[in-house]
Amino acid sequence: MPDKILSPKSDRGPDLVAAPEQRAAEARAAAPAAGAPPITPVAVATDLAAAGGAAASTVTAAPAPEPAPAPAVGDAGVDGENRRRRDDLFAAAGPLLRRPGFVLAALFVAFVIVSGLLPSLFTSYKPSATSPTDKLKGPSLDHLFGTDELGRDLFSRVLHGSTLTIKATGGAVLIAIVAGLAIGVVAGFFGGWVDSVLMRIIDILLAIPMLLMALVIVTALGFGLLPIAIAVGVTITPTFARTTRAEVLRVKEQPYVEAARTGGASWGRVLARHILPNSWGPVSVLAVLDFGTAVLTISSLSFLGFGTPPPAAEWGTLISNGRNFLITSPWLSLLPGLFVGLVVFSLNHIARTLEEMQR
């Protein structure tokens, strides 16, 4: 029975040649009927549908060096399902936690997100509170990133800038995921001329470099947070659409899809319960990677002066303002710049680790 087990470094090698019954026994709890396997973004479970679609069992993709402890057999039901999901999550998190680089990157990104959503937890200064006696002070314990030309605390301004950048990045990636998934699924699922037309449009969009496309959209829509988010979202959509299409094409040919169809499931159900969940893995890694690209492009656009109008300031705007004081107070532009670099590096590192784990 042909199937594909995504299980790097797995010692389940012999499973591939074992008889289906044996494999089913070894597989974790057997789900009743042809239910879809639980999917977590990190552990992509590929379901091995037994012939005829009688029972779908799952093998986790957790690249644990040792086989995960076998869960209690026979607790099939809502409770067992939940426990299995939890086990999957822990099995996947284990190897990740053993990578210090990944943990550091994840902690930093978590800090940026929390401090961006609740800046007052991390700084007592207001981003707009001026203090003429404290202007252009270097970094110190009082002012971690120093102060700007009006005596405003730069660390507080960076954290409040995070709020704007997180909103714009979230919006951009959301646009890209929704539009990219829709285009990719339609193209991959229907094939034929629909596929050809959509993919030619995607090719053209890919031929225009990303920043240039974003500039064109910003010219048309005007400046501010929303136009930037839309511009970046549209420019990263084509890669999402392509990856989704490739995944849908791959999953569509899998035996379990055929099995589900033979079992009488409608195309809509097959799409929602089998094709989409199993295509999601590579697309989610791309999403993390594109968070980094989106942050970079958004801060470039606000650096160029197309962001929110003052006094609110995104990271790029802060850096651009600090440029005027580069000789006397270099921290004004360099510290926020380093901050942006660290955020992008962390996001890229997380994406790369997840990608390695999936292989």
């Binding site: 969009l205 920043l211 500039l215 010219t219 801060s299 650096f303 270099p330």
Partner: protein, 316 residues
Amino acid sequence: MPRYLAGRVAQALLVLWAAYTVTFIILNVLPSDPITLQLSAGGADVSQLTPAQLHDLKAHYGLDDPIVVQYFHHLWRALHFDFGMSLTQNVSVGSLITDKLPSTIALTAVAIGVVLVLGLGIAFLATYVQWRPARVLLARLPAVGVSLPQFFVGLLLIQVFSFSLTWLPATGTHGWRSLVLPAITLGLPPSAMLAQLLTRSLNDTWREPYITTARAKGLSRWTIQVRHALRNASLPALTLLGVLVGYTVVNAVVVETVFSRNGIGQLAQQAVLGQDVPVVQAIVLIAAALFVVVNLLVDLLYSLLDPRVARAGRAA
């Protein structure tokens, strides 16, 4: 080969036309009121105008025709390298661009040189050096280069080399000395991408059977790396290089703004800021043309280096 060539040229022209059309649609159809957008960019306060004045202005800019007529009119003129008048500066778009193109071409050419030297160099050393810590460091370095924002790199270089060491000028467009820092800034992220790809493909090549044969013949690591591994590994890198040239041209927008260089990039930044639609449209077309031409050259070079490509294209 001639048929392959003709096919590739036709495809390049098609992409160019499509890029023009897509940007035309975005710039002229997407805004809720494109006419007001363009008229106010030209300095006219639309709300203060009488209907008759508005009509005259629209006629002056050719904005009163149906959008399809405008499209074919602009496309026809663009084919003759006539991009109309700038809305914010009272000069033709063509002369603005021919003024500023040379400095941007010089900048990107030097930046591509940086990309080749850095990208090749790092990948070469990362796979050639046998001391493990150095190998790991060289293999990890590109990931940092890809993540650093260009405006940050630029400002850091200015701070260190212009203000602290006073070796090179911080801004300006005069002489080769003003070209060094911007070119390094512009070339850094693409060279990191090239190094990543080339390191991977060099590592793969070292596992090929013909490398084992070469080693069995007693060739030194250096000879194998230069004569066998690098030659075979550089084919995928060539394709990436074509893409990177396009991105380098576009990223000149950020770098020329950081270094206050008088080029196409800075013109693009000002045009977007002033919502100067004809200038933006022309710059997109030029960038797309550069991108398409470079990729066409890469494809042709590729088919010369690896004749299987052109033959496969004919069979398909």
